[in-house]
């Protein structure tokens, strides 16, 4: 088998400029040295759990220290404070997510706070395309982020596949979705299971019963022929039969999909990516039941998610597969901070993202979002972490993609995030010298100019202003800084009155401060 690095793209644009920090940070260490104690890279699996519709992150991972201000603007759906499952002193979980809480307690869960991208698009379709392609918000890319990765490794696919070295599909999408995540320049690297072309492999709801007449008979013939012609059908059928599942799963589509994933992995399928999904997060109305906000549609979705995640992780541990698999949730956007009158929430901006698995660096990465006392109608949770940094960190640490390639696949400004850890130990090896950024913006509210103060260990810093809709409206500073305390002046005089967020990207860490721009 050819080595992966032989396929690396010779791109002139992807010049690696490693940001060397204080020498001990995880993000600066060579990836392979850190992770080569793991199994061979071909054994590693990433499971993506797509939460369709835009998940209300504020009711999933609750910023307890912002509770009073939340109560001002979303009292009809807000989880009562005494029912929140505490993770840290300032952050907790929706009460139905006892499973996720146990994953956290077992050091198998990471929460990445406020993940999004600059210039948030609030269209489901468009924002999903951005999340699956990994494109900037204002560019249309026709390939998926994992599709570009696969294309770098296997540029001839599908010509000559499957073959002896690669008998199995590179990616599998469970259910009906077309996985844009795995779309390559020429073809999609993902095989969709449980579509009209694949019958009889995994329990399927597809296709009506063909009527017993000439039309029905020809249709049945075609269905069978098409299923049999799938190049991977035989291999998958074998693997499903060889595979097993040892945990008890709850009812529901997501749990069923994840259990099938466990079966396929345990049966020996060499597939690297699985995409599963749970729909219904578009909770414009009746997100929570009036008077009983811990119940309702969103609570049911989170219960499904949490129970399925927990059962899946337990299954992997029982099967001895847990060091080979990490899983991650994502959703096209979060929802507004302020709820609407229908006990629901409308399309918003950033939201937390959950990673789980034995090799996940257990932590809550980033700060709680800051909720102001006077939240505007349009205001979403501002972005703290760029979703492409999450993707890129997985590519680097899990799939051992060189940083230069990660930049080429995603974006030049990629910043590594410490979201994975060698699984030899369950304790966090963040190794991070905790530098207190301690960003402060004053005066707040601001009318003309404000001062922004923070500490830097000496690295590149990007300081920019986002509006309530998630648009990056102003870049104040984007260059290398010396170590020490810094004070910058922000001229806000040209901005209309409203809510803004001051985001500082420093040393691979992010901090966000909410600022009110007063009228003139």
């Amino acid at each position: 088998m050819m080595k992966r690095r032989h396929f690396l793209k010779a791109t002139g644009t992807a010049v690696a400029i490693p940001i060397l920090l204080n020498g001990t940070r995880l993000g600066a260490m060579p990836r392979s040295a850190l992770f080569n104690a793991l199994n061979d890279e071909s054994d590693r699996v990433l499971v993506l759990i797509q939460l369709n519709g835009g998940n209300d992150g504020l009711n999933m991972v609750l910023p307890v220290d912002q509770y009073d201000n939340l109560a001002n603007v979303r009292s009809n759906i807000l989880i009562p404070q005494d029912t929140i499952l505490p993770m840290t002193g300032v952050t907790g979980l929706h009460p139905v997510m006892t499973g996720v809480k146990s994953l956290y307690d077992d050091a198998r869960l990471a929460v990445v706070q406020s993940v999004g991208y600059p210039n948030q698009n609030r269209s489901h379709f468009r924002s999903t395309d951005i999340w699956t392609s990994g494109s900037p918000a204002d560019e249309v890319w026709n390939t998926g982020w994992m599709g570009r990765y696969f294309d770098g490794l296997y540029p001839d696919y599908p010509e000559g596949y499957p073959n002896a070295s690669h008998p199995h599909p590179f990616a599998i999408t469970m259910g009906n979705l077309v996985s844009e995540t795995c779309q390559g320049p020429a073809t999609n690297f993902s095989l969709t299971l449980e579509n009209p072309f694949t019958i009889g492999q995994i329990p399927s709801g597809q296709g009506s019963n063909a009527p017993d007449n000439p039309y029905g008979r020809e249709l049945e013939f075609l269905r069978t022929a098409i299923a049999q012609s799938n190049a991977y059908a035989g291999a998958i059928s074998e693997v499903v039969n060889a595979g097993s599942s040892m945990a008890t799963y709850p009812q529901g589509r997501l749990a069923e999909q994840l259990q099938n994933v466990a079966r396929l992995i345990s049966g020996g399928l060499q597939t690297k990516i699985y995409v599963v999904s749970l729909g219904g997060f578009d909770t414009h109305a009746n997100q929570a039941i009036e008077g009983a906000p811990t119940t309702g549609e969103h609570a049911e979705l989170l219960r499904n998610l949490s129970d399925a995640m927990t059962a899946f992780q337990q299954d992997l541990q029982l099967l001895g597969l847990d060091r080979r698999v990490i899983s991650m949730t994502f959703s096209e956007f979060g929802r507004r901070i302020r709820s609407n009158a229908s006990n629901g929430t409308d399309h918003g901006t950033a939201a937390p993202l959950l990673l789980f698995g034995t090799c996940v660096n257990p932590q809550i990465l980033g700060d709680n979002p800051e909720i102001g006392p006077n939240v505007s109608v349009d205001e979403g949770v501002p972005m703290q972490h760029d979703f492409r940094d999450v993707y890129g960190s997985i590519l680097m640490d899990w799939f051992e993609v060189p940083e230069a390639d990660v930049r080429a696949y995603l974006y030049q400004d990629f910043t590594h995030l410490p979201i994975l850890t060698p699984c030899e130990t369950t304790t966090s090896v963040s190794g991070e010298e905790s530098l207190e950024i301690a960003m402060n913006v004053f005066p707040n509210p601001v009318s003309q100019q404000a001062t922004i103060a923070f500490n830097s260990a000496g690295a590149r810093a990007r300081l920019s202003i986002f509006d309530a809709m998630g648009n990056e409206v102003q870049v104040i500073f984007d260059q290398r800084l010396n170590a020490g305390e810094h004070t910058l002046t922000w001229d806000a005089s040209r901005l209309p009155a409203g809510i803004y967020f001051c985001r500082l990207l420093l040393n691979g860490r992010q901090q966000v401060r909410r600022v009110v721009k007063a009228g003139r």
Binding site: S123, G207, A210, D212, Y215, E218, L222, S229, D282
Partner: protein
């Protein structure tokens, strides 16, 4: 899990052919050739046009609904002038044909190879005729006759042009006359060795196919060399009848020699030809260059000729399975109609396509589209536009002509003289189109047409999903969008779980109103690339999924 076995167990059926035929015979209510008098709407009009053309557009179906059954039949069968001949689209090296002029009568050259580009021109032109035909049955009938009077491996496009023009001009004409004309067609003379058949060495090749494949067909073996409808003696004697014909003009560089056939009395067998009792012991005397026509008249005195061609028409336009009831209720009256009309094809064809039987629900949808139907139909149904500049559209037509080849069907190149197996090979018939080798190019084609398209000469050929969705009666309602797309693309309604599946493809995990909002946003700002892309990507996913469904393979 074997769905087929489960289904069979559920309804308690066995798969024996006999039982199937019994059930099929018992099931139809409207199984006669009587004129259809039921409701006339989208379903019926779409069914008629799917079978009679290479795939109707929405507009064509609506026109047919408006014109009614009889009006549509009249339009389908209406006379129309022959198309302008194929031209030289771009070959500057042809010393005999300027660009834009036709090559069909122009000689070849001693210095430049002109066969290649002219063959491409002929094939591109043929593709263009199928792509651009309106509500007319002529192109589907022309391909029917090409399958019936199959020729292959004829390398001179001038010959092929003459041959296909004969079939096209007689597509709805007199079958007897067409057999006569094909018998001395230069291409056929070359293909079945008629041009080598002399009184000293009569070649039986054409005589045998004339009986077995072109006119009366082989009946059950009734004795040594006796096939019920004819005997080996008849093959030998008829070969003598057909001696003396030759062709000229093949690959010629002489401007004075046209592509034609000619008769040489000196090569013709002048004796009496004694046919068998299967042809009432008829004796055919020497009639020189008129003798072949007399022979065809003798063969056509047997009514079995009418039944034979009606079965082939039935398999081409309706369904492959001809059971005892269909034989009695459809084939026989259709054959009688053909005979009563002196073998003019049109009345019998109009009766078949206008019959109760044709519109019987059991006959809607069970035909697996041929590769040419599949490829041409996709371009037609989605109204994919072609450029007006000669070179560009000829080039694109030729590229698309080739798409059906890996799907195992190539115009001007059937596998053998019997035509494509789908129309005669028991027991699979249409199913012979489908195998692992042909499914891959079929799905690759529809996937690419729906997503990225094809680029030739800087023109992109791609389904315009945004225009398509605009033709829907309420494009803001995703349920209506999927229903109306389904009605255009599938012969029978989808089941609810399939409609749900498609909505999930269009709107993964989202409520219906989000489509309305996104589509509204796009319509309000059609120039906003982000909004357009958001809607377009979802529609492309939907159309790709719809074209991947096995239902789309059926007509």
């Amino acid at each position: 899990m074997d769905r087929r076995a489960t289904l069979a167990a559920f309804i308690g059926r066995s798969d024996s052919k006999q039982k199937r035929q019994q059930r099929r015979a018992a099931a139809p209510i409207n199984s006669s050739l009587s004129p259809y008098a039921g409701p006339w709407g989208w379903e019926q009009a779409a069914h008629l046009l799917r079978r009679a053309t290479f795939g109707p557009t929405k507009t064509m179906i609506e026109t047919a609904v408006q014109n009614g059954l009889n009006g549509t039949l009249t339009q389908l069968f209406a006379d129309q002038p022959l198309p302008a001949p194929p031209v030289n689209p771009n070959n500057a090296t042809d010393p005999n044909v300027p660009i834009g002029e036709t090559w069909i009568n122009a000689p070849y050259s001693a210095t430049v190879n002109l066969v290649g580009y002219r063959n491409q021109s002929l094939r591109g032109w043929t593709m263009g005729l199928m792509l651009n035909e309106g509500i007319s049955i002529r192109e589907k009938m022309t391909l029917f006759w090409h399958n019936h009077f199959a020729v292959r491996q004829i390398t001179d496009p001038k010959f092929l042009y003459k041959y296909i023009t004969l079939l096209r001009s007689s597509a709805l004409g007199n079958f007897r006359q067409l057999v006569k004309d094909v018998t001395i067609d230069p291409t056929m003379l070359r293909f079945l060795n008629g041009n080598q058949s002399t009184r000293n060495a009569p070649n039986e090749n054409y005589a045998r196919e004339l009986l077995e494949l072109f006119t009366i067909g082989k009946g059950p073996a009734a004795g040594p060399g006796d096939y019920t409808n004819y005997t080996e003696t008849d093959v030998e004697q008829m070969a003598r009848v057909l001696t003396g014909w030759r062709d000229r003009g093949f690959n010629t560089q002489n401007p004075d020699i046209a592509v034609e056939s000619f008769f040489t009395l000196g090569r013709h067998d002048l004796g009496n030809k004694q046919l068998s009792h299967r042809f009432d012991n008829a004796v055919i005397p020497n009639m020189a260059e008129n003798e072949y026509a007399h022979l065809v008249d003798v063969i056509f005195q047997k009514d079995e000729v009418a039944r034979f061609i009606c079965r082939k028409l039935y398999r081409w336009f309706v369904y492959y399975d001809i059971d005892a009831a269909t034989e009695v209720n459809i084939i026989e009256p259709m054959a009688q109609l053909l005979i009563a009309n002196n073998y003019n094809i049109q009345p019998a064809m109009a009766a078949l396509l206008g019959s109760e039987h044709f519109f019987d629900i059991l006959n809607v949808g069970p035909m697996i589209k041929s590769p040419i139907d599949f490829v041409v139909g996709a371009f037609r149904q989605f109204s994919i536009p072609f450029p007006t500049q000669l070179l560009r559209y000829y080039n694109a037509w030729f590229q698309f002509f080739r798409f059906s080849i890996p799907m195992q069907m190539e115009y001007f190149n059937p596998p053998d003289v019997a035509g494509w197996k789908a129309y005669y090979q028991e027991p699979g018939y249409y199913r012979t189109w489908i195998n692992a080798a042909t499914l891959a190019p079929r799905s690759a084609f529809t996937n690419q047409l729906a997503t990225t398209g094809y680029v030739y000469n800087t023109v992109r050929y791609l389904i315009d999903v945004l225009t398509l969705v605009d033709t829907v009666s309420d494009p803001f309602d995703p349920v209506v969008v999927i229903r109306e797309f389904s009605e255009l693309l599938y012969p029978q309604p989808l089941a609810q779980n399939q409609l749900d599946y498609l909505k999930e493809v269009l709107l993964p995990g989202l409520p219906d109103f989000e489509w309305t909002i996104e589509y509204n946003d796009y319509k309000a700002n059609p120039d906003n690339a982000n909004l357009r892309q958001a809607v377009e990507t979802k529609l492309r996913n939907l159309v790709r999924a719809m074209l991947s469904m096995p239902e789309y393979y059926l007509s």
